[in-house]
Symmetry: C2
Subunit: 131 residues, 2 copies
């Protein structure tokens, strides 16, 4: 019995399939890590912080793709807020933007945020024993 060898065309097709699926998969699974630098209206600080805290705690609890959200403000300059955010993937990030708790935060704080800078960052080490 003669065993038929796979033809060149089949091999090329297989390589293409592996390449495109592999690429789509790695794109999908690539974490999004970002830092937001915000400046908040000083007279609305307490209200802003409450909105942010609620938004973060809900996102972490209900969204499996929201992996980390750390928000702090400068002690001597409390209008300056920093948030470091980690999403499991690009689609997890897009899902977060559509989540009702994110929309509530975004709408509720739109007149409190005087400046917002979003910076793509690369993690060196993200370690926590707090949660």
């Amino acid at each position: 019995m003669k065993i038929k060898k796979p033809g060149l065309v089949s091999i090329v097709i297989l390589l293409f399939v592996f390449f495109f699926y592999g690429n789509a998969f790695s794109q999908e699974k690539k974490q999004i890590v970002r830092m937001a630098k915000l400046v908040i209206d000083s007279v609305q600080l307490e209200s802003y912080n409450a909105f942010l805290k609620e938004g973060i705690e809900t996102a972490i609890r209900v969204e499996p793709g929201v992996l980390m959200m750390n928000a702090v403000y400068e002690k001597n300059n409390p209008t300056h807020v920093f948030v470091v955010e980690v999403y499991a993937s690009d689609s997890a990030y897009k899902a977060h933007l559509q989540a009702p708790h994110f929309k509530k935060y975004k709408m509720g704080t739109k007149d409190m945020v005087k400046n917002l800078e979003l910076i793509d960052v690369v993690p060196i080490s993200l370690e926590s024993k707090l949660n």
Copy 2:
């Protein structure tokens, strides 16, 4: 039988004891939360990041009082590094400064760090599902 009431002096002493112990306790247990903004020598970036990563991972593993250490660098400006650190108490922070892995990091990177700014920060929310 006459039951002796506690005198004023005893009450005042008790109040002092509660006040000073309570205060010392809450001071001790107060978390230290800080952000370090660093600028690193561009030609030594890779080496710096390796030192920082090792320092953080060792501190988190061996120091019970080091509760969180998140380090990132800006994707478009990789010499700019941000670290958010949480220590369980002031004494945990002081212990960290004396730890051999911290001294190794500090000595090893002293010619790599072009600028270091330490900023006391107040947490709004520190949530992670990564660890």
